[in-house]
């Protein structure tokens, strides 16, 4: 036995400290979420009602949809900074179709539904275009989606002539305003997407490819995976989700504008990061992003309920994001 070797009890305490801090790094988001949740539950009566709970979920659907899909992009090693612009494009396209095709005799009553579908389709196609630029043309993912974001928003401006698109047919608003069993469609849609993408990530071939592409693209390629195709599809998913969110927004207010959804891309990425999905790619989970989105919403909700000035909220959210990124960096230094 070597006298200099650390004793068993030393090792145990060392192990303990290390595993506890690793646990905190991995599951800090769960703790933060629970802390905030119960803090709000105990400090304000209005919070803990079913109505308010559903409200928070409903209000989270925009960031939720985009962040959930964005998680898949980030795991695969990409970044989508154009989702805010895709949101706007899909919204105005849906609005334009619903408004202008209503007078076309052969379409008529189907126009609102076509509006939804074509709006979402446009979002998906724009996402796929991002994917092609980033992968096959090898343009840096930040620069590519930042630029396409500008282009998409410009296009939205162009096709609306900088005007607000107003839809008169109330059927168009059903996508966002219908209740099923007392719960808003928006909640079904975004939580549904979360469940589907969770399944895709952990139980399908494509899900494995997404993680492999983000973790080590060269190893993935040498395993017979078309990494470019996988990444392109993740961008398509992101565009699809931003498209749905944009169409829902147009549907909800019966109008759409080219400057809708500004800043959505950043707050969504923030939600992904706060949830603990690594910005380095190759790791992450949808449930993390769900908690990240909800944490940001809770903070917002809490600040509303206790009526604090807006700028405090912004400062606080900023600090939380910074903290989350710092944790991510720390975790990577560990491993």
């Amino acid at each position: 036995m070597n006298a200099n070797a650390p004793s068993l009890s030393d090792r145990l305490t060392q192990l303990d400290r290390r595993s506890i801090s690793n646990f905190l790094l991995d599951y800090g988001i769960v703790i933060a979420f629970l802390v905030f949740y119960f803090l709000l539950a105990f400090s304000t009566e209005a919070f803990f009602t079913i109505r308010n709970q559903l409200n928070i979920l409903d209000q989270a659907h925009q960031i939720g949809l985009i962040a959930i899909a964005g998680t898949v992009v980030i795991i695969a090693g990409g970044f989508d900074l154009s989702t805010g612009a895709i949101f706007a494009m899909s919204g105005v396209v849906a609005g334009l179709v619903a408004r202008d095709w209503a007078d076309v005799a052969s379409i008529g009553a189907a126009a609102p539904y076509l509006g939804w579908i074509i709006g979402i389709l446009v979002g998906t196609l724009l996402g796929l275009l991002n994917g092609v630029l980033v992968t096959f043309l090898r343009i840096n993912t930040f620069v590519a989606t930042l630029s396409t974001g500008l282009v998409f928003r410009g296009l939205a401006l162009l096709i609306t002539q900088a005007d607000t698109v107003r839809v008169r047919d109330r059927v168009f608003s059903e996508l966002a305003r219908t209740n099923i069993l007392g719960v808003r469609t928006t909640i079904y849609i975004w939580l549904g997407l979360a469940l589907i993408l969770t399944f895709v990530l952990i139980r399908t071939q494509f899900g494995r490819y997404v993680f492999a592409a983000g973790d080590n693209p060269e190893a993935a390629r040498l395993s017979g995976i078309n990494v470019n195709l996988v990444r392109t599809i993740t961008f398509g998913i992101s565009g699809f989700a931003a498209g749905i969110a944009g169409v829902i927004s147009a549907s909800k207010f019966l109008r759409a504008q080219s400057d809708n959804g500004q800043g959505l891309e950043l707050i969504s990425i923030a939600a992904v990061v706060v949830g603990g999905t690594s910005i380095m790619g190759g790791e992450g989970a949808i449930w993390r992003t769900f908690l990240g989105v909800m944490l940001l919403r809770l903070i917002e909700n809490g600040f509303n309920l206790v009526q604090v000035e807006n700028f405090y909220r912004s400062i606080f959210q900023g600090l939380i994001i910074l903290f989350a990124v710092a944790l991510d960096a720390l975790r990577h230094r560990r491993s």
């Binding site: 070597n2 200099n4 070797a5 399908t204 494995r208 973790d215 080590n216 395993s223």
Partner: protein, 508 residues
């Protein structure tokens, strides 16, 4: 007279997550000597070097420098004591000039403004000291490797380094560059610099060093004068057994075994009409120097690099290989040379890594993974390969190097290959894992798998292969084997690899 050693390491231990890298190590380095450290990968020699240069900290034990105990927390502490490291990889700023690289961190300045003329004087002084002739204004990125090494040496001199630790400095160098570099080292030593020389190349060590310390599994086997050692005695001490015990008995394939892989007139931007065959059950070696095209050849056959022409026949049928997917579907698998960069997805669990290329075969349909079936087959494979611990849900980067290598093998044995291209299969694994790899390769061949083995370790080629192709400059220049006119020999392979007739080089 017993001078105070420049470096003394006393009872030093260092534990990494899964491995004990150093166990109670004692070592002294004397002023003015060239002291070599040899040992297998994972023996602990690099870790020891890193502790002396302040990159790693010991868990237990002390480092003494010139008779004083030191507790380095950062390489800069060692630098202040005149200790510098030169590593295998070049650590230079490629976009900058030689002078800026050499004087990095020692710039002459006043009020934050560089004083270029003084820097030039300083540089001239250093160059005179070393006897090199380098243009201070040349951009480092455009230099040859040997010249880059010179720049690193100059930088070490500029930092007044009394002790220079060289960790595999010649690993990336061509043979002639190596010779130049060794001259530099000797010269530095004569000018009074003490040198710790970590290397795999035993001949090099015996020619260069005064003293050699042999390490195995984190312990020091012995320290001796190089004049008392031979390559064989070093190898035996490093391995803890004689070489012949390392390799499984050689079983030749049946004489009627068919060609599992046949390459005819392969052309790419590297190859111009290359032919080879591997029979079912045969282990064929690809020998040659680094850069001779061995890895690129197997990568090309695997579809990882573009094929411009020629034919590839698998079990006699021509196969169009446009990408790795085509090769994998035809049963051609490749174990890549770099486990970390090309082989494993380190952040993923063992499960994901093992089945990544085979997800089609563990599928309910519609791309949904048949999880129970996958788990069952993974458990069998982990047991067969003796992966420790055999947990499908364990992240791969938490495994030791040897177990990672087993997982890498498992990734390509989940379904059995017909043709297995194996590129440097024992790089970065310890001796026990190495032996396991050799036996595994032999067993696969006995099952009828055709194996094409790229290895830079001559002993592996000699110990395992039935037949050997030697490559040089993108061409196959020689073939050796029991069934050919020329039997496999170290001398023959080296001669062909270097393209020389006289056989002065018996480098390993």
């Amino acid at each position: 007279m017993a001078e105070t050693p420049i470096i003394e390491v006393r009872n030093v231990s260092r534990q990494f997550v899964a491995v004990q890298a150093l166990v109670d190590v004692n070592l002294s380095i004397n002023q003015g000597e060239i002291h070599a450290l040899v040992g297998e990968n994972g023996a602990g020699k690099s870790t020891l070097g890193k502790i002396i240069s302040g990159i790693e900290r010991p868990d237990a034990g002390t480092l003494w420098v010139r008779g004083a105990a030191r507790n380095y927390t950062h390489p800069i502490d060692a630098l202040r004591d005149g200790i510098t490291t030169i590593t295998q990889e070049i650590a230079l700023m490629n976009q900058q000039t030689i002078i800026d690289n050499v004087l990095l961190g020692r710039e002459k300045q006043q009020f934050g403004i560089l004083k270029r003329s003084e820097m030039r004087h300083e540089f001239d002084r250093i160059v005179q000291d070393s006897g090199f002739d380098l243009n201070p204004d040349a951009i480092v990125g455009g230099l040859h490797l040997a010249d880059k090494k010179k720049v690193e040496v100059l930088r070490a001199i500029a930092r007044d380094s009394e002790l220079i630790i060289m960790d595999e400095p010649t690993a990336m160098l061509a043979d002639d560059e190596t010779q130049i570099f060794l001259e530099i080292v000797r010269d530095l030593n004569q000018r009074g610099h003490t040198i710790i020389y970590i290397s795999h190349f035993l001949e090099e060590v015996l020619n260069l060093a005064d003293t050699v310390t042999i390490m195995r599994n984190g312990r020091i086997v012995r320290t001796a004068a190089t004049s008392e050692e031979t390559t064989d005695s070093l190898v035996e001490a490093m391995l803890g057994q004689t070489l012949s015990e390392m390799y499984p008995p050689r079983v030749l394939p049946p004489p009627d075994a068919h060609n599992a892989l046949e390459v005819r007139g392969l052309r790419s931007n590297v190859f111009d009409g290359l032919n080879l065959q591997v029979r079912s059950g045969e282990i064929v070696g690809l020998a040659g120097l680094v850069g001779s095209g061995r890895s690129r050849l197997v990568r090309t056959i695997f579809g990882a690099e573009e094929i411009r022409g020629g034919e590839i026949l698998v079990h006699g049928a021509p196969l169009a290989i446009r990408n790795t997917t085509d090769a994998i579907r035809a049963g051609i698998f490749m174990l890549p040379e770099s486990r970390k960069e090309q082989g494993l997805s380190l952040k993923q669990v063992i499960r994901s890594n093992l089945t990544l290329p085979h997800l089609r075969s563990v599928n309910w349909g519609a791309g949904i993974i048949n999880y129970p079936d996958e788990t069952r087959r993974i458990r069998n494979l982990l047991a067969e390969l003796n992966v420790q611990p055999p947990l499908p849900q364990l992240q791969v980067n938490r495994l030791s190097g040897g177990n990672q290598q087993r997982v890498l093998f498992g990734k390509w044995l989940f379904e059995r290959p017909g043709v297995f291209l194996v590129d440097e299969p024992t790089r970065g694994v310890d001796i026990g894992a190495k032996q396991a790899v050799y036996h595994l390769i032999a067993e696969l061949a006995a099952e009828g798998v055709a194996i094409l083995l790229v290895s830079s370790e001559m002993d592996e080629i000699l110990g395992l292969c039935h037949r050997v192709y030697v490559m040089r400059l993108g061409q196959i220049v020689a073939e050796f084997g029991a069934e050919t006119d020329s039997p496999i020999s170290r001398r023959g392979i080296m001669t062909a690899a270097f393209g020389t007739i006289q056989d002065s080089v018996a480098q390993d």
